[in-house]
Subunit: 243 residues, 2 copies
Amino acid sequence: MVHNSPFARKIASYVQLGEIEIQSVSDLYRRRRKFAPGLDLVHQGEIDQSAFIMADGWAFSYKILSDGARQIVNFHIPGDFLGVRSVLFRTSDHNVEPITQIEASEVSKTDLFQTFSKTPRLATAVLWAASRDEAMVVEHLVGVGQRPAPERTAHLILELSTRLKLVGLGDKTGFTCPLTQYHLADAMGLTPVHVNRVLREIREAGMMTFQNGRVTFDDYESLVDFADFDRTYLDQDGPALKM
Amino acid sequence: MVHNSPFARKIASYVQLGEIEIQSVSDLYRRRRKFAPGLDLVHQGEIDQSAFIMADGWAFSYKILSDGARQIVNFHIPGDFLGVRSVLFRTSDHNVEPITQIEASEVSKTDLFQTFSKTPRLATAVLWAASRDEAMVVEHLVGVGQRPAPERTAHLILELSTRLKLVGLGDKTGFTCPLTQYHLADAMGLTPVHVNRVLREIREAGMMTFQNGRVTFDDYESLVDFADFDRTYLDQDGPALKM
DNA sequence: CGTAGCTTTGATGTAGGTCAAGAAATGTGG
DNA sequence: CCACATTTCTTGACCTACATCAAAGCTACG
């Protein structure tokens, strides 16, 4: 039922859902639409932006510099609630583009605020998710600023794996992954050519294989070790619910 | 009076402050303490963290990797409200260290929520400030990922200048700046040695001088141009107040 | 079944890192 | 207010991680 949706599954792992919350989630969830790959669903500078709950597929948010360089800020997978910030506060300062065909529910500002006042617990969960996203951006900054390319790559893949496992996509052995090496490159501030070499290196070290739309962990433990990946990162110890 | 404080000044530029709001701000503001440079006021992993309103001095938030590398995530100046995220949601995932001696008001979780329910307009302003901080982190990621060192450096300094001007510190000619080249290096993912060379280059190009605790703009227009600095970045067109 | 988007590899270039060491500045105790 | 210590800054010589340029082989799907 509702709990089968990635969003509900994720939310439920943060807060105990009661009758009303389940109803609200299911309301938000019902109005799903499909979006084609490559067509931005959020763009920079737009006002009165909606938020989106991702139900299926992959997307990414990014910024473009005047010289055409693209920095991918984060990837979005099923269960993600994206654009909370733009909705709450003003114009969007970034773009969001689907990688695959995606299914997402558009949540208007009004809907969001109504849901918030009806079900404060849900509001907490949503804001908690937003705060998790922020932590991820910080982690990306740390990676790009301080980690060498191979470790950075391993770290990014492990982060994705962790997030995917939380919504029931993929497991310890690997996951299905529609990203191209160009996506990885723009997320990590590297060239596609170098990403390719780094992936080969990691593969030849027997740690992980990124090929044919699939990531396979050949030695998960070594990879975690190599990337210096914090296992508690993205762990939900739950939000400050007692408030 | 109250409006002379950097925090009130900044908040007032977002929302119209009424009687009650001014009172609240002034309440929060009164309980100031001094903190010595070098002693972290927030550390990673700590729970039930307070937020802080910076009244005077400079600080920075950062993360340390296991190999000792440090990534500075942002600098904090008077008027900044820091730690909103940690307070609202859980344990802190980063550290905050004062650069100079600072004066800051500690705002407990309880205080914050009380203020929020008493003065919703203030809540909006605070969340808006938090969202601005997030935008800055994204911009830092873009810089570290895509901009060459000289442009990156120019951009960071211009960002600081813009923020400082908003709270009445510094002007078009420059600002007082307690940052060392080590700070700049760790914020930008460069070595101090290279930062030094880049600063020289920028200085010799007649654009800006970073010396003796002061940044001087020798040719502001060229610098903005060189850094591809968006003049509307950090502009407050105001939050979504009509809600 | 062709053409456009990916991936892979090689040869070569360069931005920025590392190592080293002296010069300024800044701070501290007497 | 001066010696001395420590932290910053600056510069030079050299090195490496990653970029650039180029081209060939894959894959996919219209």
